[in-house]
Assembly symmetry: C2
Homo-oligomer: 506 residues x 2
């Protein structure tokens, strides 16, 4: 889930200084209002080792009035704590009404570490996740505002950070659990795997995660402060006493720092100049299509079904890419579902219902041209659906795809990206070509105006829904041929791996 938190976002010193001043004042005001409104606030600061969690906590402590704050870390339990049910130590730290508790790792680090070190099995972890969700829900229903931050950073940065700390060990050693250091360093992937499981299953309606990129401390801290401010404001403005109406996530777009580098997205990391020569294209196309043809029959014989979702910017080349796949597949084995406005019947149901309908039988394939991700893309950006409804869709979608995977469905998700300039060209060319003119509408031009909003939405989408069993594939599509080969080879590779296929290639 964490790809969207590895974009390289950062904030310059000068922007940080300027925005920090303003933020501090606002945060302090809100803290007093929270106190007056008697709302207890729990802030959970969790994340990767080396992500600067203690620096974040120190910063919050500096920004806020420390008389109303208690900071708690949960190191090895004391005698007192070991002698009682596990959650006793957390109950001890509950802030009274109007106060703030900042919890280092909260109730998350123990299950993550135990699973990571194989000290507990999946069954114990499942039970623990249920417990966490019940516990947080109970606090939220009681009026507590629970805000959870997960700080993430890429492997290279983590290694560097930990090395640096080890060198300055005199004053930095206390930041790490020494026995665990080498493990974490060496086993980034394993830790991330466990963390994804835990974060994904506790990204709940009432206490969702705010995943923050932590490669740059300025960015991480400023964003934390801004998100926190936004959430507190929402809560103070919530009508009536329904705390659910203003949960632990920003209901609107996040007010990112005013620095272009703070607005980078996963799409900025794509090499948009990628291209392929025509000859190579023709050769590869033929070979990939041949293999795809065989693999889809293999899937049929193995009774494995395939679900593909194609998303992308308008005129990004979804249609062309889909056709290059379907050309190679026996027409009896696949269906393409073009997702437009819902029918009356579909509209009368939950938004996922229309997609469940088209889940293929074992051995068959459904290709969705646009998909359930509309919920967190167009519906979000265009404001068709309030944040209180689209934000939980990340979890709903993860659960949906998890069910597909568990049944053995192979899930493939593509995002086709083109540059804004390329899109303009394509729009104009479509308008000028009689048989293509119908493909370009007022709506396309309107969407284009919200280009940046869509990029942000895509980033959040990838951050929350790119899972191990159903990762996002982001395809640079300025060169149509390149994009098609990328899509085809991803499909072929995924199927081959999933079917353990012996279709002649390796």
């Amino acid at each position: 889930m964490f790809e969207g938190a590895k974009t390289g976002r950062k904030v310059s010193k000068s922007v940080f200084k300027k925005e920090e001043q303003q933020l501090r004042t606002l945060l302090l005001n809100k803290q007093f209002e929270l106190k007056k409104a008697k709302i207890p606030l729990i802030v959970i600061v969790a994340g990767m080792e080396g992500a600067g969690k203690s620096e974040v906590v120190n910063r919050l402590d500096e920004w806020l009035d420390s008389s109303g704050i208690q900071v708690h870390a949960f190191w090895d339990p004391s005698d007192e704590e070991r002698d009682r049910p596990r959650y006793w130590r957390f109950w001890r730290t509950m802030p009274p009404k109007g106060q703030i508790a900042i919890l280092f790792g909260g109730w998350y680090m123990q299950p993550i570490e135990q699973r990571y070190f194989n000290q507990c099995d999946d069954s114990a972890l499942e039970r623990e996740l249920r417990r966490i969700r019940d516990f947080e829900r109970m606090l939220v229903e009681d009026g507590t505002l629970v805000v959870k931050f997960w700080y993430h950073l890429d492997e290279a940065t983590q290694r560097e950070r930990l090395k640096e700390r080890a060198q300055h060990s005199e004053n930095a050693r206390w930041k790490m659990l020494p026995t665990k250091k080498s493990h974490v360093e060496e086993h980034y992937d394993k830790f991330e795997h466990v963390a994804e499981q835990v974060v994904r299953h506790t990204d709940s309606y009432h206490a969702p995660w705010n995943v923050v990129e932590a490669t740059d401390e300025n960015y991480g801290q400023l964003t934390t402060g801004k998100i926190l401010l936004q959430i507190i404001e929402q809560r103070l403005n919530a009508v009536g006493d329904d705390p659910k109406g203003a949960g632990g996530y920003p209901m609107g777009d996040i007010d990112l720092p005013d620095d272009p580098d703070a607005r980078l997205t996963v799409l900025d990391n794509l090499d948009m100049s990628a291209s392929i020569k025509k000859d190579d294209y023709n050769k590869q196309l033929k070979s990939l299509q041949t293999e795809l043809h065989e693999l889809v029959w293999l899937a049929y014989n193995q009774r494995r079904s395939v679900v593909m979702a194609f998303e992308g910017v308008d005129a990004g080349g979804k249609g062309g890419a889909i056709r290059r796949c379907t050309e190679a597949i026996d027409a009896r084995l696949y269906r393409t579902i073009s997702v437009g406005a819902p029918t009356d019947e579909e509209h009368a149901h939950h938004y996922l219902w229309r997609f469940w309908r088209h889940i293929p039988r074992d051995g068959y394939m459904t290709i969705f041209d646009r998909s359930w991700y509309g919920r967190v893309l167009v519906e979000r950006v265009e404001g068709f659906t309030p944040a209180s409804r689209w934000r939980p869709a990340y979890m709903e979608i993860n659960n949906f795809e998890e069910q597909l995977s568990e049944h053995g469905v192979i899930v493939l998700k593509f995002w086709l990206q083109i540059t804004k300039e390329e899109q303009l060209e394509r729009f104009q060319s479509r308008q000028d070509t009689p048989y293509k003119a119908h493909k370009i509408t007022e709506e396309d031009w309107r969407n284009r105006e919200k280009w940046d909003d869509y990029c942000m939405a895509v980033n959040d989408m990838v951050k929350h829904t790119s899972t191990e069993q159903a990762p996002w594939h982001l395809i640079p599509g300025n060169d149509k041929r390149y994009a098609r080969i990328e899509v085809l080879s991803t499909v072929v590779n995924t199927l081959r791996r999933a079917l353990n296929g012996s279709s002649g290639r390796k």
Copy 2:
């Protein structure tokens, strides 16, 4: 959890006929209003084999306008269904807005049966329970009203029902899965055990269970209709579009049928005439206290802690019973916490916080004179806490006690009952005795007026919170000596069993 659904409640034919007429008209009206309001309704009818589930469904179908209802049973999955992820079959049955779906067993029967037949392990069950909760929450957040009924009956009645059915097999066989009949008949306890696990963990904020006693069909059906009516009315009257504000349980007292037998509670089954001779009392008291003394030291040495909660009607003899225990225990090993109005500090926290504080260290004992059950007793009956807050407390309390048990804490819960006449005598005697007069207040007289409401609240409490790891012990207390011996011997037996104690007795 199901003791509260084995009280022998029933409704006479004449009352049934009279109330049915009225109920039908009201239900039908509400159905049309639901349709107009475009609210989809899912009714889950689940429960013990032989509890008359199909009769309930038939009745609802008769009462309501069948054009807006679809009934679905989930027998063995079809080819179509087996070929897709498991929930596909449930998605097929989702009612569109304004329509009603009645689901036989819903998504519950499969996990219960699989666990019952050992076809899945606890880990798979935990995952399934998480899935169910996520699924229901998603539907509820989307505006669906989810109402769940669990029909329960005692073992003897079940055996009789199943025998009867077998005899009239020509027209009744279809009601049972034939291969399972014998199992269910023979293994009532095992089935109930699994059912308790599933029901307890899915008794959620958003879609709680309505447990209905099903020994008498008239009672079961009438009560179902009345609960359903009440829930639909609530939902239609809910302000704004917050569906959570009117969840799948009646927010006020249930409008029970107007038949005294329909209002029986677990307390009515107590033998209030039970008594013990003075000589026997003295002998037993001494012997039990001696053993208790030893057992508490044994618990200390085994580092097992004990939590006891005493509840009961005013002047029911809690104090006396507690003293007979504590007299026998080394003063260093126990604490008694008398639970009155919360302190300022306690008031500024979640209601469970004040009890967590006093959870003893391993090896020690805490005795609560009144407890966390105040939430669902006095706070409910006196209206201090709205139903939207006290109703979820059943689940919250079960989770709390589950955590205690998991840590190894021995949990004991007592309800001390006396008759209304006996209470009057004790009140008067207290008023007349100078050194006891302070024990009787205006509040006690006020509570007395709500006698029946408290009985109902106790019944619901037992129904939802008497679990295998922390069962309720209901003690008839008209004879103080009898009650004290009962309490002491329950404590001694429980400790002996838990500690596998060899304190000389069996």
